[in-house]
């Protein structure tokens, strides 16, 4: 009964979504306040029904209801309860249900935190989000219904993909989806502004906190995915330029560009067309990512079930939504008049340059991701594009953006003075250049890539310090008080920039100085790496809840003293028979020691292929990313987004606030 209830809730949610998509927009166009007022209750009701549907699916998973196809395919009676819960979003159907639930959640948030917005704007924004919701609920019901039954029911399920049985995977998909779907808010705001023709500073101000929060979630989701891949795939890598990763990285780049462009539009009233286009692009790329992952047009290490009818449905929806929004953009573009002049050296021009560089980098990722598809579609052969392309193209493209990050936040709006910027940043530049040139010599000799990375990391980090010094110099009161009085927007930006610098330092160190060793080991044998000696003590078999595993014990000593013990595992999952590598890590602030168990090399399972890695400073990558996320949330919580502003009184070019964050 409960799965049927879930199905019914899904259908009712669809009806509410249709209401939400049609009536409020109609009301906004005709000036009918009654119709406009339908927006909020419809959105809230839709969320309630989707939550009910999701709860029904969760129930089916938790009680092991194998009469539901989705449960039978993706769960297993021996699966621990926590993974039965996460299995709800481990499957295609369940993850799409989560997608619409997240969308409804964002719409709910808009309906609750929009009291200060004009009624027609709210009606249009919620209406546009309703249109997207209709498409995805229809997609669920037509091609991916999570509540379908199977007769006769199998005795047991096929088990969740063992790769997903890890706690990094428990939170990675929800965070990623929060980000993906969150860009729908900025998208809806842009569409609403295009329809109404009111592309003013108020519109940019409303969009900013939503965009920043979505971006922070997306960052968190991507990093969790990367962290999961690092620990779980057993290859010791943290980014593979896999199509699925790129699918989440592309909206992230567009979102990053959008955040910065929105700042200019709000403060100066310029770049309007550009900002609108970025808002449309960020969400369109999220949709494209959903399509790429769900349709199977690209081959990827992530083996999702693929079905051409699903791909065709999403593509059709993609064409309608993105096509219509870009057509609307083209139609309205002449009305977007940008105010506010600026000179070639100003914060505007630096942000514009940064945006152009980011978009070029985005283009290179898009091209590399879709190139195999282009070649295949044109009958030019089967090729694959791997990390060598992306590293060779993406790194040089993103480097100028990182350099500009150091200058941009210090430059004045409208017209900055180059000699002034040079005066303020000359020491930062000198120290960064010296670090870049000299640091590699203390490590491993001259290395241009390491030099570039160190220079950029140091440059950004020092520019953050300079920015704080400039802001605090003229403030009054004790130092702590001065720091406390800085707006959260400023703190958020600087924290995120500093986090990026930290992450760049970590990436530079780990990619240039990691070492690894592939060895055959049996009890008593040892290998040495980075000053550590790894002694293979032995291996034993043990039974987990839904797998059997071989677990090796490796003693690690440093300078003859016992340092720590690592226990890598090789698991075979009972239901699927899939083998899995559970790497064992010993992390600290300066390095990870990472050991993965390969294949057994003899029949008695006493000798094993073992991979040992030394990953210097890899944790700086996670620390930097955490600061990036924290910075995003901090900036979005700035007080100025919460104080009431009458939209009419905000001038298109708020030139008075030229010194803001």
């Amino acid at each position: 009964m409960i799965p049927e209830l879930g199905n019914l809730a899904l259908i009712l949610a669809l009806l509410l979504a249709i209401t939400q998509a049609v009536l409020p927009i109609w009301g906004a166009q005709t000036g009918n306040a009654t119709l406009m007022r339908v927006a909020r209750p419809a959105a809230q009701g839709q969320f309630a029904f989707l939550l009910l549907a999701y709860a029904c699916l969760l129930h089916a998973f938790v009680i092991n209801d194998f009469t539901v196809v989705n449960v039978a395919r993706n769960s297993f009676s021996q699966l621990p309860v926590v993974y039965r819960v996460t299995a709800t979003w481990g499957s295609h159907e369940g993850s799409m249900l989560m997608w619409v639930l997240m969308l409804a959640f964002w719409t709910l948030a808009v309906s609750l935190f929009s009291r200060r917005l004009p009624e027609d704007m709210v009606a249009r924004v919620i209406g546009v989000m309703g249109v997207i919701s209709v498409g995805f609920i229809l997609f669920l019901l037509a091609t991916s219904n999570p509540f379908l039954r199977i007769h006769p029911a199998p005795l047991d399920g096929n088990d969740m993909n063992p790769l997903l049985q890890d706690w990094g995977m428990i939170i990675h998909p929800p965070m990623l989806y929060m980000g993906y779907v969150g860009f729908a808010v900025a998208f809806a705001f842009a569409i609403a502004a295009l329809i109404s023709g009111r592309l003013d500073a108020a519109w940019a101000r409303w969009s900013r906190p939503w965009t920043t929060v979505a971006w922070a979630f997306l960052t968190l989701g991507i990093v969790l995915g990367s962290w999961w891949a690092y620990r779980e795939l057993g290859w010791g890598g943290w980014w593979f330029w896999d199509p699925t990763e790129n699918a989440s990285f592309m909206p992230w780049i567009a979102g990053t560009a959008l955040i910065h462009s929105l700042a200019v539009t709000e403060k100066r009233g310029t770049f309007k067309a550009w900002t609108v286009l970025l808002a449309l692009s960020a969400f369109s790329l999220s949709l494209l990512g959903t399509f790429l992952v769900r349709s199977g047009v690209l081959s990827s290490v992530h083996a999702f079930a693929t079905d051409p009818s699903r791909g065709a449905f999403i593509l059709g929806f993609l064409v309608v939504v993105i096509g219509a929004s870009l057509a609307l953009y083209a139609w309205r573009a002449p009305r977007m008049i940008s105010g506010g002049d600026f000179t070639w050296f100003s914060r505007e021009s630096l942000l514009l340059a940064n945006n152009v560089v980011l978009l070029a980098a985005l283009g290179s990722v898009l091209l590399g991701t879709l190139y195999p598809l282009f070649m295949d579609a044109l009958g030019l052969g089967k090729i694959s594009v791997g990390p060598p392309y992306f590293n060779a193209v993406f790194v040089p493209l993103i480097a100028p953006a990182l350099f500009l990050m150091g200058v941009g936040p210090l430059a004045r709006w409208k017209d900055a003075s180059l000699p002034d910027a040079v005066t303020r940043l000359k020491w930062a530049l000198a120290i960064a250049v010296a670090t870049g040139l000299l640091l590699p010599f203390t490590l491993d000799g001259f290395n241009p890539w390491a030099s570039l990375g160190f220079f950029l990391a140091m440059w950004i980090a020092l520019s953050v310090l300079v920015a704080f010094r400039d802001r605090l110099k003229h403030a009054q009161g004790p130092w702590l008080e001065r720091l406390r009085r800085l707006p959260r927007g400023f703190w958020g930006m600087q924290l995120a920039h500093f986090g990026l610098a930290w992450g760049v330092a970590g990436i530079t160190l780990v990619s240039n100085y990691e070492t690894e060793r592939d060895v055959r080991m049996e009890p008593g044998s040892f290998t040495e790496l980075a000053g550590y000696r790894f002694t293979f003590v032995g291996s034993e078999e043990y039974e987990g809840p839904n797998f059997v595993a071989a677990r090796a014990t490796i003693e690690v000593t440093q300078d003859g003293r016992r340092a720590f013990t690592l226990r890598p595992e090789k698991r075979i999952y009972n239901a699927s028979g899939m083998p899995m590598t559970e790497a064992s890590l010993h992390p600290n602030f300066f390095r990870d020691i990472y050991v993965a168990l390969g294949e057994p090399l003899d029949d008695s399972h006493t000798a094993w292929a073992v991979r040992v890695y030394h990953k210097p400073f890899i944790n700086w990558l996670w620390i930097g990313a955490a600061l990036l996320v924290l910075g995003g949330f901090l900036a979005a919580s700035d007080r100025r987004y919460r104080i009431a502003v009458k939209p009419e009184t905000v001038p298109a070019a708020a030139g008075l606030k030229a010194q803001g964050a």
Binding site: N158, S295, L318, V319, A330, P334, D376, A377
Partner: protein
């Protein structure tokens, strides 16, 4: 004109994506097509005395289906293979690939056996000769022992009708 550019770029992209839906990125053209199927001799599951060689299939058109008891997609494919075996289509030989658990025999006894023979490729050597990238994969081999077709992934009704049927007509069975 410039303002229509984003739409234009997107529509071209969508065209490619639509085309992409009908292509299979996992399918890499096999260098074996048109060449002789690599020879091997392997023990047969359930009868350690007997050995299977492709040579023994000379004069027949047959399918070499690479599978394993641990492969979930193979279980999906199993029902269709059973249907094929009953319909009198070409005989199917099931190469049992890297089956460390030794479950193939019991599994086939339980769920039904669509195979003429089940050679046991325990260490995966034969799989390497054939360029097996994953399970299931199926090779269509003609009377002269020439590989005519390779299919990656489970065979279903539509794959059979679209790929195998025309090839079988061409060979003339």
């Amino acid at each position: 004109m410039k303002r229509w550019l984003p739409l234009l770029v997107f529509l071209i992209l969508a065209g490619f994506l639509a085309k992409g839906l009908f292509l299979n990125p996992r399918e890499v053209p096999s260098p074996l097509i048109g060449k002789a199927a690599p020879a091997f001799s392997l023990p047969v599951v359930g009868n350690a005395e007997a050995a299977f060689t492709p040579e023994s299939m000379r004069g027949q058109v047959w399918l070499l289906n690479v599978w394993a008891p641990w492969c979930v997609a193979c279980r999906q494919e199993h029902a269709f293979l059973m249907q094929l075996a009953r319909s009198g289509a070409p005989p199917i030989v099931g190469l049992n690939w890297k089956d460390k658990s030794r479950e193939a025999d019991a599994l086939l006894a339980r769920t039904g056996n669509p195979y003429r023979a089940v050679p046991d490729d325990l260490d995966g050597r034969v799989g390497i000769d054939y360029g097996v990238t994953g399970t299931p994969e199926t090779y269509l081999i003609d009377r002269d022992g020439i590989v005519r077709l390779k299919h990656v992934g489970p065979i279903d009704e539509s794959a059979w009708n679209k790929k195998f049927e025309p090839k079988l007509k061409e060979i003339g069975t």
